[in-house]
Amino acid sequence: MTDILAGVLVMLVRMAVVLAVVFGLAAYMILLERKLLGRFQVRYGPNRVGPFGLLQPIADGLKMLLKEDIIPDGVDRRIFLVAPAIVAGAALFAFAVVPFGPTFTLFGKRITQVVTDTDVGLLVIFGLSSLAVYGVALGGWTSDNKYSLLGGIRGAAQMISYELALGLSLVPVAMMARSLNLTAIVDAQATLPFALTQPLAFAIFVISALAETNRIPFDLPEAENELQAGYHTEYSGMRFALFFVGEYVNMILLGSITAVFFLGGWHGPVLPPIVWLAVKVLAVPVFLIWTRASLPRLRYDQLMAVGWKCLVPLGLLNILVTGAILTAGL
């Protein structure tokens, strides 16, 4: 009985910590993005609310909560209301399988620093990242607006194309780690991160993950200058904000899984594991923001060409080469 109680308690604590950290990070990721983008454009970002604008996320959140939530005539109400939650929810669920540190022992019990230590973690992440597209596609479709619809369709097409490349880029990782368990994958990189042993897979992964998060240069679903705001044109207030919470949670998720799959997770010299993980997790969103400041948006046909004609064949080739080397006896 006490065993079950302790287990539930540990589980609850882990979920609370992960949720709090992820939401806090997502809020401040918005501030970080606005600040960094500002500096990239030789201006200050928000700096009026609190010292250095540190209270800006709270002000933004309050504003979003107090705004009128407009639901246009002609939308399919139920789906319209649920769509933003799908985007944010799918991103949040994926954190259940992301490990945040090595397994340690407390009071004679083995405690893993992951909400669910499942053996198919990689597949769970794939499943959830494919689910997120339903929020975008359904939100665009039910808005009863041609620009939203176009955004939603683009989102769906883009996700399908890049999901494939994303999957192919992770197959060599699973092959080298000989496991789909995320903790095991991290432990397989104790000496050398996969970013160095699998540079091609790493490049494919970063590009297609960029496309999965719908960010510049792959932000076609919300292309402002063609589609107003794409799939979230008709959303307002907190529902609109939920799409963005989803996007920023996704950025952190992307940072976490990049750290886990390619950067060696919490492994690193000198510094404690959690610091290494934080550095690696935050490096990816900073790179994404840098990318947003640097690159223009791809054209739709270019996007498709890069996905199908370049990333997918390269990914397949990479799997073949990795398999050949592994079977050759390394």
């Binding site: 500002g38 500096r39 990239f40 454009q41 030789v42 201006r43 200050y44 700096n47 840098w290 640097s294």
Partner: protein, 187 residues
């Protein structure tokens, strides 16, 4: 064979593309370490040029009297009809405005009134930030417009040059000859 020379090879194309992308990353990176050029407005107010066109004032001559002689030229030239007034004669015999009103909600700050004014009374100041909660508050009366100084040309005194007896007796204005007795120049 010749066609192949024109189209760059795959490797070359890849390298060119990678160099292009790396170049844009490098460009943004150098900007990251520059000092922002933003002027943080309420904390730092850029010094405006003295002839910048903002809120309108009515100035006074060096002797402290109103310059405005209520000639209606500013009101006449105003393209949006935001200036209105009523003229009267003061106790010292000088013309002045009984009331003078500018509706700043309509004013377009074109400066034509300042150009039209023969006495340099109406002038535009560089002050541009005077927001109001209610639109009625933009109607400025004469007491709101009158200032205690001479504005851009503090030493100018219209009545010292005017040749009108209201300022100084005849023949005592700056650079003015004695009045000629017309009967003395009869043939």
């Amino acid at each position: 064979m010749d066609e192949k020379k024109d189209t760059p090879g795959l490797v070359r194309e890849f390298l060119d593309g990678a160099a292009g992308i790396a170049g844009s990353y490098a460009a943004t990176l150098t900007h990251l370490f520059r000092k922002p050029i933003t002027e943080q407005y309420p904390d730092y107010k850029r010094p405006m040029p003295p002839r910048a066109r903002g809120r309108i004032i009515l100035t006074r001559s060096p002797d402290g009297k109103e310059r405005c002689v209520a000639c209606y030229l500013c009101s006449g030239v105003c393209p949006v009809n935001c200036i209105s007034m009523q003229s009267e004669e003061g106790p010292d015999g000088r013309r002045r405005a009984a009331w003078f009103r500018i509706n700043f909600a309509r004013c377009i700050y074109c400066g034509l009134c300042e150009e039209a004014c023969p006495t340099l009374a109406i002038q535009l100041t560089p002050e541009f930030a005077f927001c109001k909660d209610a639109i009625e508050d933009f109607v400025y009366e004469k007491e709101d417009l009158l200032v205690t100084h001479g504005g851009k040309d503090p030493d100018y005194d219209f009545y010292a040059h005017a040749g009108v007896a209201a300022g100084a007796p005849k023949g005592e204005h700056l650079g003015e000859d004695e009045p000629v007795d017309v009967k003395s120049i009869l043939p």
